[in-house]
Amino acid sequence: MSLEFSLTGKAGNLTIQAGGHLPASGVTVLFGSSGTGKSTLLKMLAGLYPCTGTIRFADQLWQDEPEGALLPVWQRPLGMLMQQPALFRHLSVRGNLDYVQRRRGKAEDLDGIIAATRIEPLLGRSVQQLSGGEAQRVALARALASQPELLLLDEPLSAVDLPHRESLLDMILAVSRTVPILYVTHSMDELLMLADQVWLMEQGQLIAQGPVAQALASLTGPLAQRSDATSLLSGDCGDYDPADHLQTVTVGQTSLLVPSAQIRARGASVRLRIAARDVSLCRQPPQQSSILNILPVTVDEVSPLGAGQHLVRLSLQSQVLLARLSSRSVRELNIVAGEAVFAQVKAVALV
């Protein structure tokens, strides 16, 4: 465990009461709708917001209040990225990096960070001349320049225009291979792209913590109840058909054809996302269907969603696939747990 905490604090009318363990690697997404206290919890963990309780990071005690032990923010080995880049406006881009470098003084690889965040051409500029995406890249570089042992990211994409989000996400993913990340967002897309673990927050409380696939697949959990409920499957890349732009991905013994603009290395692990509303079921494999992916699955659990909808959890080679069906179809096809059926997947994408 890298970070372990149990905290209580107040944010306006909301009481935040949360405890948990952050894995020592990968991205943990702190997910919840606006106003549930996610950002405040992040600030509490950083030491930027008053709260009582304990925070332990590796073998360091960061906070043990009200006992008195409190490691101040500026001595905690963390990096942070907020919704706003919050660059020091009286300094140049280079000056912002030097500010950290001088205080933490550990990053020998500043050039590597500058290259990875692609801010080389911006170094001489005033931070007031940067676009939202550029500024956030500089802020990421600044956070990395402190050689953090933990990165706290608070909706870092919200001030970045759409076309630049993906490259920033890729940079964050690359960083997550070496530094554990706690990432606050209310965007399902960002969760699907980044999360290894998910912490669900509601009304100031952490209501669930676990691997992302499990959090998505819990029928009674808040993620499955959403209209954009989605399953994540992990698989390995096979052949690529450049004429039709189709990548073969094997999930266990089953193969799927996934649209992809670029070829990937054979054997590379990938994640597939399949929205529950893009999955339908049939008892017999259909003949001459336009649907490319028809998968043999077993029904695990059937759960009513209300408003004429049912959510069905299917198992595919020990992984989970969700299907959102009309209650009438569930009744007429008599879909019950334990049955073998075929899932027609209308859309699947590489994460």
């Binding site: 600030k43 950083a46 030491g47 930027l48 101040p72 923010v73 500026w74 001595q75 963390l78 990096g79 942070m80 907020m82 706003q84 919050a86 660059l87 020091f88 406006r89 009286h90 500010y99 950290v100 205080r103 933490r104 005033s126 007031q128 600044r142 956070a143 402190s146």
Partner: protein, 233 residues
Amino acid sequence: MVTGLQMLSSADWLALWVSVQLSLVTVILLLLICTPLAWWLARRQWPGQSLVEASLALPLVLPPSVLGFYLLLMLGPNGPGGWFAQLAGWRSLAFSFPGLVIGSLVYSLPFVLQPLKNAFATLDNNQLAMASVCGASPRDRFFSLVLPQARLGYLSAAMLGFAHTLGEFGVVLMIGGSLPGETRVASVALYEHVEAGDYSNAHRLAAVLLVMSLVMLWGLFRWQRRRDAGSWL
């Protein structure tokens, strides 16, 4: 032809020098006093802050003679200032340079406090937080972030405090006593010239004070304008 030095009598030069010394000492002390005070007023929420602010702003609206009268009582032999002066072996703080400094501190405080308060209020909390995360202690943050970003506030505070102390009259008349080289400041010297009917010396001294004040304020406003145009230097 009248050269710069001949323009004023040596007594007037001395009075001007006392004024400049008084203004300098006052401004330096006020910048030190007002930095924590302005920080507390701008960035903390305490009950009673408005009353504190109102008291500190009183010199803006009170007739200087009222202020001078109370200061005279405070600094005189029977006031706390007199008691304090006796410790140092003086009879009283009134009619002394230290007494003038104390009076000027009170009189010019709002002119230094206000620009600093405005400068601190507009600091960005996120940048302050990020400075902490980047490893800066509060003291380090003050010098590396607050001071450079509040530069304009400090410049305005210094200029206004200096110019306002230079133009002080009512208060020094009450507590000064016009001792040459000690408490006879330029504004009082000017008053005495007029009283004595010496209009030619009064003209010269008035012109010097006018030009000095104008140049300082002009410099300040020019600088503000350039900063508003977006440059951080």
